[in-house]
């Protein structure tokens, strides 16, 4: 039983990271309709920012973490300015920004590898290697830090979308871009903000992940794939769907690896079976947007 509970802590930890990357996809996708596969690279840039700010410059976490988030938020905003806005201005075909962002993915990866090299880099555990035990639930301090930070972040994003006028404006753009424009909502600003906030959220995922894994220039792609899978599972329409999708994906992944009598390489494919199942049987994901039939 204890083994299973510890596994569940690990599921929540991994699911939280996947959920954050899924949320980064969602924040861009809802108001713009653009699937941003560079979200995984944004997370990787967050991890490399942590290497710079926390490992090399030895900034305390309380300063280093917000700086990393701001830096990747800035990268997100620049991504929109460079790769998306010029296409939207020219009424380019719908798929153009997606392809352009795939190009940015390559540019980011190559830039990171030339700046930081191709070797593994490390970020120290902010709370050391100690274990935390809450009754029969136990895990590393970093696991609990990730879970708490992610729950807090999701709550903030949820409050932004549900309780602020800016969040409502994002929703209006997601529902009907033309209607939103006719209300005087600045579509250009909403698009830029969605990329900046999406970048910040993905960057947070990278910073949280960095201490428990090695930081490497190829770390973005698996995160992009897992985040996208979590998004499909959870549904695009609601913030909490991204977290739910991330947790379900991590659950299937971890439980299959731990308990299924199949080689671990095959077990890694289990989440993608889940992705195919959802695409076939429930393409809207677990949670549908409010008002959607």
């Amino acid at each position: 039983m204890e083994d299973f509970l510890e596994l569940m802590v690990s599921v929540c930890e991994a699911g939280s990271i996947y959920g954050l990357v899924a949320l980064a996809y969602q924040i861009v996708l809802r108001p713009t309709g653009i699937i941003n596969f560079a979200a995984g690279e944004w997370a990787a840039i967050g991890a490399f920012a942590a290497v710079s700010f926390i490992t090399w410059w030895k900034l305390p976490l309380i300063i280093g973490l917000p700086m990393c988030i701001l830096a990747v938020g800035l990268v997100g905003w620049l991504t929109e300015v460079i790769a998306v806005q010029p296409l939207l201005k020219r009424d380019a075909p719908e798929l153009s920004p997606v392809l352009s962002l795939l190009g940015m993915l390559i540019i980011y990866r190559e830039t990171v590898s030339s700046v930081y090299g191709v070797d593994n880099l490390f970020v120290p555990m902010p709370f050391g290697f100690g274990r935390v035990e809450l009754g029969s639930i136990a895990g590393t301090s970093q696991s609990f830090f990730i879970i708490i930070t992610v729950v807090f972040s999701f709550t903030l994003v949820w409050l932004f979308f549900e309780r602020t006028m800016w969040g409502k404006a994002f929703q209006a753009v997601a529902i009907n871009r033309v209607a939103a424009a006719l209300l005087g909502i600045n579509l250009r600003l909403v698009t830029a903000m969605s990329f900046a906030i999406g970048g910040a959220v993905a960057g947070l995922a990278g910073v949280l992940l960095a201490p428990i894994t090695s930081v490497h220039f190829l770390m973005g792609l698996p995160l992009a794939v897992k985040g996208f899978t979590a998004l499909v599972i959870g549904g695009v329409g609601r913030v909490e769907g991204a977290l739910l999708g991330g947790l379900l994906l991590a659950f299937v992944e971890k439980v299959t690896i731990r308990y299924a009598p199949i080689p671990s390489g095959l077990a890694l494919g289990a989440p993608f079976l889940l992705l195919i199942l959802f695409l076939l049987l429930r393409p809207s994901g677990l949670l549908r947007a409010r008002g959607e039939q």
Binding site: M165, K168, A169, Q171, A172, I175, N176, V178, A179, A180, A181, L182, L183, G184, I185, N186, L187, R188, A289, R290, G291, E292
Partner: protein
């Protein structure tokens, strides 16, 4: 107040509007008439700056050319539109729809959100009763009231209405006619796109008739109402234009 000079516009490479000349003075309610496909809605889109390519001309608002301005800037300058097909945000509540209508409300001119809600709820008490209801579950007439109320939330100086009576029951048409009359009496400048002459003649002081993307006629409503060919006005004007084109 709003003047359009030699405006040509369209979608992609297709020209829809050609050489449009049009003006509306402060406090006026003018009608923009014409058959289906005449370019009335395109002209509305042109003015508000959404989804249209301008080829040439000027759209002057208070003496300033706004042809290259973005829609949020234009709405911020005091224009608002009740679009064709209402375009309410169906999954949101009535209150959220109205609140978003106030996105460009100019608070520096003394307007407050609470005051605008009061103003709209006085005009359409039914929206007050249903303020927590999901907009998509309202009846067609209530949705049209919401679309008008939402446009009014930005305290506009000019209200553009694109076929607000389309598909409504007669009793609702009368309610909306009454509301627009009240707005007219309060001095709000309005441009009403309409196909039905009787409705337009009841409200407007002047009317423009668009045929095939061009202004075929501009006249006072009194003169229009006195025309012998009023019942076949669009057909008569279209025939005259065709004759002119051939010769």
């Amino acid at each position: 107040m709003l003047e359009i000079r030699n405006l040509s516009a369209g979608f992609g490479k297709v020209d829809v509007l050609r050489g449009i000349e049009f003006h509306v003075e402060a406090g006026e309610l003018i009608a923009l008439l014409g058959p289906n496909g005449a370019g009335k809605s395109t002209l509305m889109k042109s003015i508000i700056g959404v989804g249209i390519h301008h080829r040439q001309g000027e759209i002057m608002l208070d003496g300033e050319n706004i042809i290259a301005a973005s829609s949020h800037d234009i709405i911020g300058r005091g224009l608002a539109i009740v679009p064709e097909g209402r375009m309410i945000l169906a999954p949101m509540t009535v209150e959220d729809n109205l609140r978003l209508g106030a996105t460009r409300l100019n608070r520096s001119q003394g307007h407050s959100l609470a005051e605008m809600f009061e103003y709209v709820f006085d005009l359409f008490p039914r929206l007050h009763e249903r303020s927590d209801q999901i907009a998509g579950t309202l009846s067609g007439g209530e949705q049209q009231m919401l679309a008008i109320g939402r446009a009014l939330m930005s305290a506009p100086r000019i209200l553009l209405l694109d076929e607000p009576f389309l598909g409504l029951a007669p009793i609702v048409v009368q309610e909306i006619l009454d509301a627009l009359t009240m707005l007219k009496e309060a001095g709000l400048t309005q441009v009403l796109v309409e196909q039905k002459l009787d409705i337009a003649l009841a409200l407007a002081s002047r009317a423009y008739v668009l045929i095939k993307g061009e202004v075929a006629l501009m006249d006072t409503v009194k003169s229009l109402a006195a025309r012998k060919d009023l019942d076949n006005l669009y057909f008569a004007l279209a025939s005259v234009r065709e004759t002119e084109e051939i010769s």
